[in-house]
């Protein structure tokens, strides 16, 4: 399963079986086991990459940053060792957001962040066909534009939640803020985004119908973060 996902980028990486498996992987990796390290890379690199790419809007920078983050993690694992206590993901993504912040600051000093041309066509690449793909691409581009116009704090929560796929509890740990505050900020950010898209005449109801029906079901079942 993991071998196939490594060859096919469209398949999401499988999650570790449980905390014991993650702990074992981390222990093996920290002792220099290359196989374990590659499994960890398979598990987490896409999420780090997505987070970086969403913020930096540049393929090459996102790749460099992902590599840099995992080099840092490897270095820490090798020198200090690591005992999994449910903190690996928050730690990994804290390293990632700090690195992204450094990049953004250095780029702001040098000039505005330009959008990568390749990114503009990304939305149409997977799982889209025919006329619908153009619509999806337009919506995605509108969404990226809207993300630029909401505040940094709101954007960070949205990106950590969706691009990094973290729970609100983990985001609260990373940002050191109360979970209630983050929930409110996330809700507000989504309403802002929706308002921006609606005012731009972008219809999102048809596009995300399948996903939203799933989400609404889970929401009605009362699942909390």
């Amino acid at each position: 399963m993991r071998e196939s996902s490594a060859r096919n980028p469209s398949l999401p990486p499988p999650p570790p079986a449980d905390s014991v498996e993650l702990s074992t992987l981390l222990q093996r990796a920290s002792k220099g086991d290359q196989g374990a390290w590659e499994e960890l890379l398979q598990l987490y690199s896409r999420r780090v990459y997505a987070l970086a790419r969403s913020r930096l809007r540049n393929d090459h920078l996102a790749e460099e940053l992902t590599q840099s983050v995992f080099c840092t993690v490897a270095s820490k694992l090798a020198t200090t060792g690591y005992t999994e206590q449910g903190k690996f993901e928050p730690w990994l993504f804290r390293v990632a957001i700090n690195r992204i912040r450094d990049h953004v600051r250095s780029m702001q000093r040098r000039g505005p962040i330009g959008s990568d041309a390749a990114l503009e066509g990304v939305a149409a690449a997977p799982n889209t066909t025919g006329a619908a793909s153009q619509t999806d691409s337009d919506v995605m581009q509108a969404l990226r534009g809207a993300m630029e116009s909401i505040g940094d704090a709101d954007r960070q929560v949205v990106e950590l939640r969706h691009q990094a796929g973290l729970s609100f509890a983990q985001i609260a740990e990373i940002l050191d803020e109360p979970i209630g505050t983050l929930l409110a900020r996330h809700h507000r950010a989504l309403r802002k985004l929706k308002s921006i898209l609606e005012s731009a005449g972008v219809s999102i109801s048809g596009m995300a119908a399948a996903d939203s029906s799933t989400q609404i079901k889970s929401a009605r079942s009362g699942v909390t973060p």
Partner: protein
Amino acid sequence: MSLSKHESSSEFQPLPHDLADVADMDALLQSEARVQRSSMPADLVTRIAAVSSPMLQQAGEPVLKLHEASSEETLGSRRQERARASGSAWKHRRLAWAGLAMAACAAIAVLVMPSAKPRRASDLASNIDPVAEMDLLIAAVDAMDQHATLPALGIDDSSIPEALSDEDRSPLVEIGGSL
């Protein structure tokens, strides 16, 4: 960290019940995240592994070596130890020579300085006899008045070439006349 947490965090988190009004937005953002994740180059994992694995390989080295490197025997302390072992005798010898040289310089300075030191203005003033100075000045003025020649002033003019005129030989007279 539970099994469900891992599963949910690696895919997407369920929407909290109070976000139902923005469920479509949530779903759209998830679609966007899928696009971002799937856009990662397939070989990036291999590239990252190639760069980062050597860092982890260091961890596989013998524990004793790591322990030695990370214990109290740091790089700085090893340097000091080496300096102590190989350079202490040489250091002492250098210090001894430096001390001797300084002592020699001090002795020479004590011997030489009194005669070599520059005289102060008060010392120079004390060597001038003010009475003799005044006498010379008075004589010069008198000579000017009397159109005296150099010998009259007590100045030997034999060294002055004959070709020179009298005016040249009696500059004070000329000076006096012009005055």
